[in-house]
């Protein structure tokens, strides 16, 4: 076949719509045949001006607004925001509230990780198993809806504690649902370790080496899959994590498979943490039952969202509205690493590699 006048490299657009997760992210990718040679990442399609909006609303309205930044980390945002407000005002959350915060956090982590790994299976092309995994996640979603009243925006947090309480009936219900999810997750892990289709598409694909992970400063499961043993829940414990038997999972390969495996193992750890929380749940009030004014001041707090470390900076003044709220979300750190992961990747693997960092653009561009 003649190769007359056919350039060796092409430039193809990927996005801004429908790259894994249907999030609006635009990649200008130069390919050489089937291989990616250069990546240009362009963002900003999901900007809604939420940082500005927070300065127009009171602290108590902002707990709800920050929850709506992102649907999958919808518990980590208000929690970190509330932690910052509590730090400024010197509010101590009651013991039961601390445990219930952990319960909400871990429940969201279970469903978020299941969602991401299910999408990976979808991108691998294994639709039947994708349906099955989404059904497993649905057990968790029904649990969130039954305990908190909403599938995504669970509304568990308030400044000074939590807004919900658990009774014996709901604890028994959660335990039953966790048993089901745990058994299914163990099967999923087994499938991930043995299924040829999944292994062939994900092993050794989109590798981020340990050195590159350090260079990019990646966080969360992406970092842990590249051998960076870092988890905010252990490094700077908040809520009840200093009292719980937390196991941090890390792998060394840094490929798509490792990132999925770290997430799957974390689901099992989350289930263990939830069981311990429900067993040790202390009595007493769940919040401070007050709505104090937040004095002028500034604070930085951080927590481990399902995607990694989320940092909040809050500065307040004499008004009920904050003067400045700024957050650094995990995807902001992680998407830079896509340059390394996508380098020399095959065009067919692009969507899968993008999905493997679990991108959340509504958080990042807010």
């Amino acid at each position: 076949m003649s190769t007359h006048n056919v350039p060796e490299t092409f430039s193809i657009p990927v996005g801004p719509l429908h790259v894994a997760l249907e999030e609006p992210m635009y990649f200008k990718i130069d390919v050489q045949g089937e291989t990616v040679s250069h990546i240009d990442i362009n963002a900003g399609h999901a900007h809604r001006g939420i940082e500005y909006l927070t300065t127009k609303r009171t602290m108590y309205q902002n707990v709800v607004l920050t929850e709506r930044i992102c649907s999958l980390c919808s518990n980590s945002h208000p929690q970190t925001f509330a932690m910052a407000a509590e730090k400024i005002a010197g509010i101590e959350v009651p013991e039961r509230g601390i445990y219930l915060r952990t319960v909400a956090d871990e429940m969201k982590r279970v469903t978020s990780h299941l969602f991401n790994v299910a999408l990976l299976v979808h991108l691998v092309g294994y639709e039947t198993y994708f349906m099955h995994m989404m059904q497993v996640r649905e057990i968790g979603q029904d649990m969130l809806e039954s305990i908190f009243g909403n599938r995504q925006d669970i509304g568990a947090m308030c400044i000074g504690g939590v807004r919900y309480d658990l009774d014996d009936k709901s604890i028994a219900y959660i335990k039953g649902a966790l048993d089901k999810i745990e058994a299914e997750t163990k099967d999923i892990i087994k499938t991930f370790k043995t299924n040829g289709s999944i292994l062939r598409r994900t092993k050794g694909v989109g590798v981020l080496t340990h050195a590159e992970a350090i260079t990019c400063g990646v966080v969360g499961p992406v970092a842990r899959a590249s051998g960076v043993d870092y988890d905010v829940r252990r490094e700077a414990p908040y809520a009840a994590y200093d009292r719980l038997p937390l196991v941090v999972h890390s792998l060394t390969d840094g490929d798509v498979w490792s990132r999925a495996m770290v997430r799957l193992e974390e689901i099992l750890t989350s289930i263990d943490l939830l069981r311990v929380c429900l067993r040790d749940l202390p009595g007493g009030p769940v919040n401070i039952n007050d709505r104090p004014d937040i004095p002028p001041g500034q604070a930085v707090t951080r927590s481990e969202a399902p995607r990694g470390e989320v940092i909040y900076y809050l500065r307040t003044n004499d008004t009920p509205q904050p003067e400045r709220v700024k957050w650094r979300v995990p995807t902001f750190m992680n998407w830079d690493s896509l340059r390394f992961m996508l380098q020399d990747a095959k065009v067919a693997d692009i969507a899968m590699i993008v999905n493997s960092i679990d991108p959340c653009l509504s958080c990042t561009e807010r």
Binding site: V64, S146, F148, N150, G155, R163
Partner: protein, 167 residues
């Protein structure tokens, strides 16, 4: 679990999707849905209006008293109003079905009125709100509550002050 087992289980269980609208939809008891307002319990502190992040709740002074309006199409169902309401006057039902034809969009409002009344003691016009009795010691009897409620804010304060002494 291998696929044959999953297959057999799914055959036995049938479709996982909900039959809605042909059957009932999964609706937990705690589902945070449509707002319900009980004007009888409202003490008129308007905290719900202040904590509502979507500004869906509006109070307004009218010749008949104070009106409460919650616009369902603006509401984000966060439940802040219910959580911060001191008297359980506002509450979220688990009714999620807010579908309506476009012509009805301005009727999607939870409306309430806290009527005006004449104070039985001084005759001034004041709102017939639920009195703030959280800190009243000893707790008010039903009779005392009715008496207190029929007064204006100033006479209510006087009533509670005079009541404290004999105890």
């Amino acid at each position: 679990m291998n696929f044959l087992t999953i297959f057999a289980r799914n055959l036995k269980q049938g479709p996982q999707t909900e039959a809605f609208p042909l059957g009932p939809a999964f609706t937990p008891e705690r589902l945070r849905g449509r707002i319900e307002f009980n004007a009888d319990h409202c003490e008129g502190c308007r905290i719900c209006e202040r904590v509502c992040p979507a500004n869906a709740i509006r109070f307004a002074k009218t010749p008949d008293g104070m009106t409460f309006d919650c616009w369902h199409n603006t509401c984000v169902f966060c439940g802040n109003c219910e959580f911060y309401c001191p008297t359980d006057a506002i509450h979220q039902t688990n009714d999620w079905d807010l579908s309506h034809v476009n012509a009805d969009k301005f009727d999607m409002v939870e409306h309430g009125l806290i009527p005006n009344q004449k104070c039985v003691e001084c005759g001034a016009t004041a709102l017939n709100t639920a009195p703030v009795i959280k800190n009243a010691k000893p707790p008010l009897s039903a009779e005392e509550y009715t008496e207190l409620r029929a007064r204006c804010p100033k006479c209510r304060a006087k009533y509670l002050k005079n009541r404290k002494v004999p105890a």
